[in-house]
């Protein structure tokens, strides 16, 4: 058990534990805060995968914007201040069964793949992931078209969200 493996196990347990709390806790604000913990765990996983830029962008975009949006939405859609109604609907055993089957199916399918247990090659020295990422996102021979389409998508989402949620007096 090398140190890296121990760190991975701790972070993975933290992430999965927080995710379980997200989907089972009754108080929705607590669920949103447990989501923040889960997203932070995922950011640490990205850092373990040598994707430092992704880790920081995860914190900025998910925790700094999306989680706060969730907290605002929970606060704006509450009828009373204490939620003590049951949070799961009457088919919860079916949902649990389906989730477990999905997990088992995914793992079983991947196990048959030859590269399932391969270890990571070392990152070539002097490899600057960020400048390479910037090159790929803006060069016409690479992924500039999905990048531009994503920006149009964000513009449409921005306009749409403002229009839908606008409180016309």
């Amino acid at each position: 058990m090398t140190g890296e493996q121990i760190i991975f196990l701790i972070v993975a347990l933290f992430t999965l534990g927080s995710a379980l709390m997200v989907v089972t806790t009754r108080n929705l604000i607590h669920a949103a805060l447990w989501l923040v913990a889960t997203l932070f765990g995922v950011a640490v996983i990205y850092a373990l995968l040598n994707a430092g830029f992704m880790a920081v962008v995860q914190v900025v975009v998910y925790i700094g914007a999306i989680a706060i949006l969730f907290i605002f939405a929970v606060m704006l859609t509450r009828k009373d201040l204490r939620d003590n109604t049951p949070q799961t609907n009457k088919n919860w055993w079916g949902g649990a069964l389906l989730a477990v089957l999905t997990f088992a199916g995914l793992v079983f399918t991947l196990q048959g793949w030859s590269g399932f247990s391969k270890t990571a090659a070392a990152v070539p020295s002097g490899f600057d992931a960020i400048s390479q990422l910037g090159d790929q996102l803006t060069s016409p021979a690479a992924y500039v078209l999905p990048f531009e389409v994503a920006s149009v998508l964000l513009l449409a989402a921005l306009v749409g969200a403002v229009y839908i949620a606008f409180n016309k007096k």
Binding site: G3, I29, H30, L33, V36, G52, F53, V56, V57, V59, V60, I63, G64, A65, A67, I68, I71, F72, M75, D128, I130
Partner: protein, 397 residues
Amino acid sequence: MNFWNDPLKVAAVWLEGIFTGWGMDAVFAHVLVVFLGVFLLITLLMVLDIFLVWIERKVVARFQDRIGPNRLGPFGLIQPFADIIKLIIKEDTTPDGADKVVYNLAPILSMMSVLILWAVVPLAPVMLGIDLNVGVLFVIAAGAIGTLSIIMAGWSSNNKFAMIGGFRQVAVMVAFEVPMLAMLMIPTIFAGSMNMNAIIEAQSVWFFFISPLAALIFLIAAIAELGRAPFDLAEGESELVAGFNIEYSGMKFGMFYAGELLHAFTFGGFWSILFFGGYRFFGLEQVSPFLAILILIIKAMLGYWVIMWVKYTMMRIRIDQMLGFNWKFLTPLSFALVLVTALMNTLLRGADSWLFVTGMFLSNVVVGWIALEIARSVARKERERVEGPTKVVEAHH
């Protein structure tokens, strides 16, 4: 490497030698030395925080034409210690119906988000917490955690004023992150990297002279991020009692208050690193890291003084005016500035240093002028719509 050139490495090697001499594992000794380094930095920052309280009170007094605390110790230097003792011995209340875990976690997260910023501040050419190659983006990430702590504080206090104050403060912080992020791109364009050390190394001419408009917009966005006047609607006493920290008393309030001052000092430091050359001062920083730290602290103090000057001179702005200012003026202006800067940087890339500086400076002035003219014409149309066209008074001979 002797002590004066690289103090931290010498100390770390010496300590690791002692620890392994006691029979500790080498990796474990290294981790312990790193922890000791972090502990030392945080201790020094908290001691600095205490003196920031003193500086703040003396400076605000001078702006208001009075003297400030001068009874305790020479020049009132013991005053902040008295403040801290008062805050510690105050009763630690938790409001009825508050969410205890979230309520107690919020001031800790708020202080944490300020302290982790110092991991990427380059104190000297060889003294840096972590040499992240996304150092600039890390600043925004730490700000995101600070935003989260404020909404936690506002919600968990079980108090309507706290919630409204928290909502407003978070709306302002999330809004002003956009121009701040765009203005952080400008030193990145000039330096070709997001690494803090690389940005300082690229400042043979300070970026303030190359792109003054970027420095100005970054300052405005940073003051709004800090929640200080003129953007402190969330915690103005006459507006909302004390905003999100109404229900906090004792040391928890002290954490919010001292955290805000340290945050302001940190952003003074970032302003000086990104636009005023950081620890560079005509080659003095190569002499010794201690001199570099001193230069950085002096520049950060000057930046902090500018932030305090703005706070104690300007009036508070209303929340809808703040958000309108951001979304209708600052954000388009900052995007236009990034476009113009990238264009001019590509055009002038191989040019002579003087041509580069003058070209960029003029392009900044032009962009700022056009933005102000557009703002003026929009304001004039608005005024004429409300009041009617201004009558031209004829001069009587």
